[in-house]
Amino acid sequence: MKKIIAYITIITSLVSVLLISRPQKVLAKDTYNIATDVTFPPFVYANDKNEYVGIDIDLMNEIAKEEGFKVNIKPIGFNAALQSVTSGQVDGMIAGMTITDERKQKFDFSSPYYSSGIVMAVSPKSNIDSLKDLRGKKVAVKTGTSGADYANSIKDKYGFKVVTFDDSDNMYNDVENHNSDACFEDDAVMNYGIKTGLDLKVVTKPVNNANYGFAVKKGENQELLHKFNKGLAKLKANGKYQQIIDKYTGAKATSRKLAAQKNNHTILGIIKENKGAILTGVIETIKLTVVSIIFATIFGIVIGLLGVIPNKISQAISVFVIYVFRGLPLLVLALFIYNGIPSLTGTKIPAFVAGVITLALNEGAYIAAFVKGGIEAVDKGQMEAARSLGLPFSKSMIKIILPQGMKIMIPSFINQFIITLKDTSILSIIGILELTQTGKIIIARNLEGFRMWAIVAVIYLALITILTLLSKWIERRIKA
């Protein structure tokens, strides 16, 4: 019984260390966390210095300056932003978000700051030029957008299939590559994209004209909402609002952007231009991997050991933990921890910590399973012989069983470390700026999907090679 209490203490302290290891910044009352999209030019995108710019960002910053508060902008993707606002992870969001009655159930909106309608775009050579031509075709949309709602509302009438993507770039690519036949998007976004090099054409007039608004969680952060409205009114009055709109939609802005792009078409050019961002992404991926591996290993060994202690309760705990965390898809677990737990407890979790907890639990469950298996694979006679000499269970485990089990487990550990490294890419969903997310952001700007993903893939292979060599070296040292 003492042993179990000891193990439970270890687990509890492990979890609490995870929770407090990155204490949240204590935010002064005048600083707000604002979530936004990763890719939604001209409203939100990273410029060639990897700074976030766009109509939404500039408006937000100008309003903050006007009203005397600070903002901390978090480009985490449209869907993640929606969830982060409702779970209280952030104070508000500005992400080209259309004001709809449905959204008003969960959000309070500012006065509209932009008006836009939905258009359909197709490949330039396509002969689709109206909704009627869509029968039996595939239409790409971005999840959670008004374009997606519009497509879903008319898909039965026009007989097309809807394919959903998580960001605009993948949606455009799908049409450019002829996997999908058309896409629906807000006209400002679509036109901007085409002007800056997208190989698409708009074939319909804007419909369902709607307003973009800044949003906070319903009933909360009313002061922030009030400040936004006041600031927006001032900017409209003093002309700054129009300056910002012109900056991003005027002919000058778009043509210069196009020219800049042409200079950087080669892989080397892309790397050179983005080396700072890529390096930061790589470092974040390594940090995430190393920290997660450490916690997953501790968690996995503890849970694995609980599974072999001759005690029904501890074995049941072990089986249950492995069942749950091995069974949950990593993506679901990440979203649940990042968005779900704050809704339940009211405490915000930094994305990095949420990511580490996710990987520690998921990879740890796999580790626990093979730790258990490795120990069980050691001949039962070894334990009996040790116990028959009077050695207690723990000593027998440490001196005899674990050293033999470890040899069986080492290849599984190496395998799991590689999987952990790869799985960090899934954490881009909660907005961690690791390698995959960095890739997405760079592509959002330069629209070089194929080349950029090739670069990212090669970097992952290089990292995995290093990790494998390192593991093999450690394996040799252990076996020697």
């Binding site: 070894q382 012989a385 040790a386 028959s388 000499l389 050695l391 207690p392 005899i400």
Partner: protein, 246 residues
């Protein structure tokens, strides 16, 4: 203290529906060598493994040196320090050298310091005829050598009773003699021993008492002479006929 080393009363052991020991009464005196014989599945090994609680008895009492082994309050690790056990499949620790196998328990349990343990284990290895194997890994030994190391390992704790669970059953025939020789020496030195074996020759020569078990009962016991020359129970007769004719 009485002359009684082991006193088992009405021992029952079941695995679910399977009733393996059906009320065993079994006594061993100090310095006595008792050999358990009987057909496989008769419960001999289970009885032996209950004596150091590698198997939990279902009911009944097991008293060794006046201490109730089967009681939950007993510190079983402490009790086991005085009960040596030798297994059919040797169970040498594969991750340790021969010397380390023998030294581990006395050192870990604070009986001896490292130097003393080394001295003791070298002596024990010499006794079992394996003085040159101190640094060998178990996997490089033959079955007979492994079993002799296992005996030395058990002896290093200076137990005052030794349990042997079919110690020669997994050995090639030419290895059996060496192991039995070591066991005979032990018996001669006055070690209290309980031996489960199919080696009838050993039983005849070394045992003070032979116990015949079948179907979870002790059916007959007596001196080797009584059991082998004049068995009373029908089951004993038919069992002995089979094993001796082979």
């Amino acid at each position: 203290m009485s002359d009684l080393k082991v006193d088992v009363t009405n021992l029952q052991k079941s695995y679910g529906e399977n009733h393996v020991l059906k009320g065993i009464d079994f006594k061993v005196k100090n310095n006595e060598v008792v050999v358990l014989i009987g057909p496989s599945g008769s419960g001999k090994s289970t009885l032996l493994r209950c004596l150091n609680r590698l198997e939990e008895p279902t009911s009944g009492s097991i008293v060794i040196d006046g201490q109730d082994i089967s009681s939950k309050g007993t510190n079983i690790d402490k009790a086991r320090e005085n009960i040596g056990m030798v297994f059919q499949h040797f169970n040498l620790f594969n991750n340790l050298t021969v010397g380390e196998n023998i030294m581990l328990a006395p050192v870990e349990l604070g009986k001896l310091d490292k130097d003393e343990a080394k001295y003791v284990s070298e002596n024990l290895l010499e006794t079992v005829g394996l003085a040159d194997k101190f640094d060998a890994m178990p996997n490089s030994l033959s079955g007979g050598q492994k079993q002799r190391v296992a005996i030395a390992r058990a002896l290093a704790m200076k137990p005052d009773i030794m349990l042997f669970d079919e110690p020669t059953s997994a050995l090639d025939p030419e290895m059996v003699g060496d192991v039995l020789e070591v066991m005979k020496e032990l018996a001669k030195d006055g070690m209290t021993m309980v031996v489960v074996t199919h080696e009838m020759g050993f039983a005849k020569e070394v045992a003070d008492r032979v116990v015949f078990m079948a179907d979870g009962h002790v059916l007959e016991e007596g001196s080797p002479k009584e059991i082998f020359d004049n068995p009373q129970n029908e089951r004993t007769q038919s069992f002995l006929e089979k094993v001796i004719n082979v």
